[in-house]
Every structure is written in C-alpha cells, then in structure tokens.
C-alpha cells in the first residue's frame, strides 16, 4: 500500500480488499469488554479539520484511540490558522511535533496531496473540497459487502449500485464510483444535469436523469446530501421540486428489488433527498455505516502506521 491515503483511485484491488478484510477482523474489537488494542502505542495521530465534521472526526478519533495511538485534535477555529497561518506552516508545526499521521479535511480539493509533500508521516484524506473522501467509500464498500453476506477476500462483483443526487459537489460520490468500480460493482449515477460534473464521461459508471427507471435495477441506492453550503447558484428550481424528482420516499422504495439496501453518508436532510420513514426503515444502513466507519478507519490506520516506521 501507499504511505498516504489521498484518493480511492490510488488503491489497487488487492489493497482495497486487504483494508476490508482487516476491518472485518477489527470490527470484533467493538464487541469486547476491553475495546482497545496496543498496536499503535506511542504513535501520534493528528486530526486536522479545516471544515466542520461530526462523524468523520469522531470516527477517526475513536479508531485511533482503539489502537492506543495518541490523538491530537486540531481545531482550526481558535488556532493560528485563524490568524492567517498558511497550510504549509501548519504542516511544518505538526511535523515538528512528531505527528505519525495527519488526518486532514479541507475545503480545497488537493489540499491533502499538497500536505503529503511536506510531511514525513502518513496523510489520510478525510474529505477535500468536492474531490475525494476515500475512507467513506471504503466504509460504504464494507457495509455493502457485509449486507450482501460476502466474506473475506470477496469483492462486490455483480452488485448494482445507484448513486443519487448532488454528484457535482460530492466527494463521497467520486470516491465511491472509483472504489466500487474497482471492486467489480456496476455503478450508475442519477442526478439532475445541473448537478453532474463536466468530465463525467471519464468516470467508470453510467449516468441517467430518471430515478424511477433506475430503482428496479438497483441492489444498493446511495442517496447524497444536497450541499447547500457549496451551492452558489440555482442548480434546481426549488427544494420541493428536487425532492419530488430525486428524493427517496416510501413509494420509490417499493420499486426496489426485495433485498436492496438504502445508504446515506450523512448528514441527512430528512424530507429533501430522503424521507424520514425510509431513513429509519430496516433497509437503511445509515447507522451501520457509522459503526463500520470506525472499523474501516482502524484498518487504514493500522495498515499505514502499524508496520515498519516510515523510512527517514
């Protein structure tokens, strides 16, 4: 595996399966009386979040702590970044403090990649702009594999995954398209034309605008959040119209095959892209995804940091 995890597109199929298999073993730790392994004792993991996050930051923190690493949470508000410190100077500060891994979220696509050129430790991308969010894609793949009863070493061959909504602003969609395609799933995107990125033809997936036609052919439906905070123009006439055409309500769930599952990376806009009854239904894996996130992030931290120290 690479020393950093910047993009799901950097992973080989073998790497991806190794992460999922490792996560499967580490998931057991959650059921033990002592939810801790000594593996990363003495290692320091810095959570560097330039953007708001609840589940990703907490998930990385829990994962690092279950592996006995020391965790430093770097909150940008109240730090020197607020005084205008550059990304590079922040990076050099972390370097001087001996960070073995930096988990970074940034509003600029490509920030983790830049950071990886300045740091000797590992850089893990926890979401950069509208580019990538690789650990989210890994935990989604892990959740799908578990729900469809596939075990160690098995990929997602033959499963049809439909990703619906704001693909344009979604780092989750991009990472998922690459990873799920790598693992053998057939990926379809459904979105209004205004919410699809320009170079969508290069992505290894099909694209359509009609959700009702796609649902009967989906084993997995992944709903994306409408990212109001990144929208600086009118991408659709009204929230209500979007919800009518692209929201997942009970009637639409009825068109899904019997064992199909509904996913959402969170945070949800209940009543916009997903109806509350659907989010709380047994088909929904939304809570599972959060629990699986800790196992998958433990696997990533272990595989990047658990072995031989990074060559100096």
């Amino acid at each position: 595996m690479n020393r950093h995890l910047i993009s799901a597109a950097d992973l080989s199929k073998q790497d991806a399966l190794l992460i999922l298999d490792t996560a499967e073993e580490l998931a057991q730790v959650a059921d033990r009386p002592i939810k801790k392994l000594p593996t990363l004792r003495g290692r320091t993991v810095v959570n560097l979040f330039f953007e708001d996050s609840t589940r990703t930051r907490i998930s990385f923190e829990a994962a690092a702590k279950r592996l006995s690493a020391d965790v430093i949470n770097f909150a940008v508000k109240g730090s020197s970044v607020a005084k205008g410190e550059s990304l590079k100077d922040t990076a050099l500060t972390l370097e001087a403090m001996g960070a073995d891994a930096v988990v970074v979220r940034h509003s600029a696509s490509g920030a983790p990649l830049r950071l990886s050129n300045w740091l000797r430790g590992s850089v893990i991308n926890a979401g950069d702009g509208s580019h990538e969010h690789p650990t989210q894609a890994l935990l989604d793949a892990f959740t799908i594999r578990r729900r469809f009863g596939r075990g160690d070493g098995e990929a997602l061959d033959g499963l049809r995954v439909t990703i619906v909504g704001d693909v344009l602003h979604s780092r989750v969609a991009r990472s998922n398209v690459w990873l799920l395609h790598l693992l053998g799933a057939e990926v379809a995107l459904v979105a209004p034309p205004t919410l699809l990125p320009v170079a969508i033809d290069d992505w290894p997936c099909s694209v359509s605008y009609d959700l009702d036609a796609a649902l009967p052919k989906s084993d997995v439906v992944m709903m994306l959040r409408i990212q109001q905070e990144r929208m600086n123009a009118a991408y659709f006439p009204s929230v209500r119209e979007y919800s009518r055409r692209y929201g997942l309500d009970t009637a639409r769930v009825g068109q899904l095959p019997e064992d199909a599952i509904v996913m959402h990376p969170g945070p949800m806009n209940r009543g916009v892209e997903i109806a509350a009854e659907v989010a709380d239904s047994p088909r929904s894996t939304i809570v599972e995804q959060v629990a699986n996130g800790v196992s998958v992030r433990m696997a990533v931290l272990y595989l990047l940091l658990g072995g031989r120290e990074v060559a100096q």
Binding site: M1, N2, R3, L18, D21, T22, E25, L26, Q28, R32, P33, I34, K36, L37, P38, T39, L67, Y302, L303, L304, L305, G306, G307, R308, E309, V310, A311
Partner: protein
C-alpha cells in the same frame, strides 16, 4: 505464529539470511548439518503426539470440563481443532475451541510492513473462569506466546492458561515453557522447523531444514508494502 517456517520466529534483530552456523565458522567445506529437508515427524507420529497431548490435557485438567482450546493462527488453529476432537472422543463431551490472532500484540510490528490479520474466534461461552489451553505449532523464542497472553488479557480472565505445542525447538528468549509438548526437537538457530498440516498444506509432516531454503511464506508475510 503466522508462518509455517520459523527461521527467526518473531525474533527481532535476527535477519534470517545472515546466520552463521555454529561449528561451521572456520569455513569448513562440509555442508550444514542438513543440506536437505529432513522429516522429523511423519503423519502417524503427529497423530500419536496429538492423541497423547489430548490425554495429558484430560488428565491434568481432571476431565477437561472447563477447558477452552485456542489455536494461534495459522497452524495452531487446526491443531486445536484436532485436539478438541480427540478429547471429545475420549470424554464424550464437546470441548469449545477457537482461534486467537496475536498480530496486533506482537513486539516486532515496527520491524516489518503491516501484516494481514488472522482470525480471532472465541467460543461463545467466553474464557472467564475457564482453563485456556493455547495451541501453537512451534515454540521457539516464546514471543508469540507472550503476545498471546497479552491478547487473552484483553478478552477476559481465565482461571488458568496452559500451553500446548507440537514442536518445542528451544532457544527461548523469554521465561516461557510449554505444558504439553508433542516433540522436543534440539535445533540450531541456523535451521528452520516447518510444520505442514493437511488443513493448510495438504499433508502432515514436520521438516527440519537449513535457513534460506524455505519457499516464501504463503501468507502473513508481506502485505502493506510501502512505496
């Protein structure tokens, strides 16, 4: 131990390929003690050793009533399973058995790239108040067993922990000993003990061979390479 071969069984600082064979340092022209793999235990002997260990476990634990057998992956797991079947054959009662992966507890994790994890399956009844018998194929430095004791500590509080191994090859680096031994095998550190089991390798045998002749381990070795 995650490998069949035990060139430096979890021994940091012993590079497997630069070992001087004792008694050979003078540049003697003669080949090493064993130029070819030598079979030290055949299938029937392994069978008898396991049967004897099973009987010893029953005797020492007064009927193996509260015993849990935990094999250390890879080859400790089928050995634990076979011992459990033999105890059941004698006592007529099911003996819980499972596996205990020790990778996350190793003391040499930082010396190699991250390894693939083995399975940990603890029987549903747990280990609290039970006599846990750890089962491994080869006892060498003792570091694997130390790691296993740490791992057990996080799973519960057994009444007692015992150790059963198919081969004890000596060269301990920690104050650890086995309670049940299939065969005591005096070895040099320049030799490799390789255990083959039907479940994992298609045949039963224990081989002794000089270091450097072993093929690459099938699993557990090189994962997580760094670029």
């Amino acid at each position: 131990m995650a490998h069949a071969a035990h060139p430096a069984g979890g021994k940091p600082g012993t590079p497997g390929d630069s070992v001087t064979v004792p008694g050979q340092a003078g540049g003697a022209p003669a080949p090493g003690p064993q130029a070819h793999p030598k079979t030290v235990l055949e299938a029937a002997e392994i069978n008898r050793a396991l049967t004897r260990i099973a009987h010893e476990i029953i005797e020492r634990t007064h009927g193996a009533e509260h015993v849990v057998l935990l094999g250390i992956p890879t080859r400790g797991v089928p050995l634990a399973e076979r011992m459990a079947a033999r105890i059941t054959g004698v006592e007529g009662r099911q003996v819980p058995h499972g596996s205990l992966d020790i990778t996350m507890y190793r003391d040499d994790l930082r010396l190699r790239p991250a390894r693939r994890l083995g399975p940990t399956e603890v029987p549903a009844e747990g280990i609290d108040g039970k006599t846990v018998v750890l089962v491994d194929d080869v006892l060498y430095s003792g570091r694997t067993v130390r790691a296993a004791l740490d791992a057990l500590n996080d799973l519960g509080r057994p009444l007692a922990v015992q150790l059963a191994v198919l081969v004890d090859r000596g060269h301990r680096e920690l104050p650890i000993r086995a309670d049940y031994v299939g065969k005591n095998l005096p070895t040099s550190q320049a030799e490799v003990v390789r255990v083959l089991l039907t479940e994992t390798d298609g045949e039963d045998a224990v081989l002794l061979e000089p270091v450097g002749t072993e093929p690459r381990p099938r699993r557990g070795g090189v994962t997580g390479r760094r670029r």
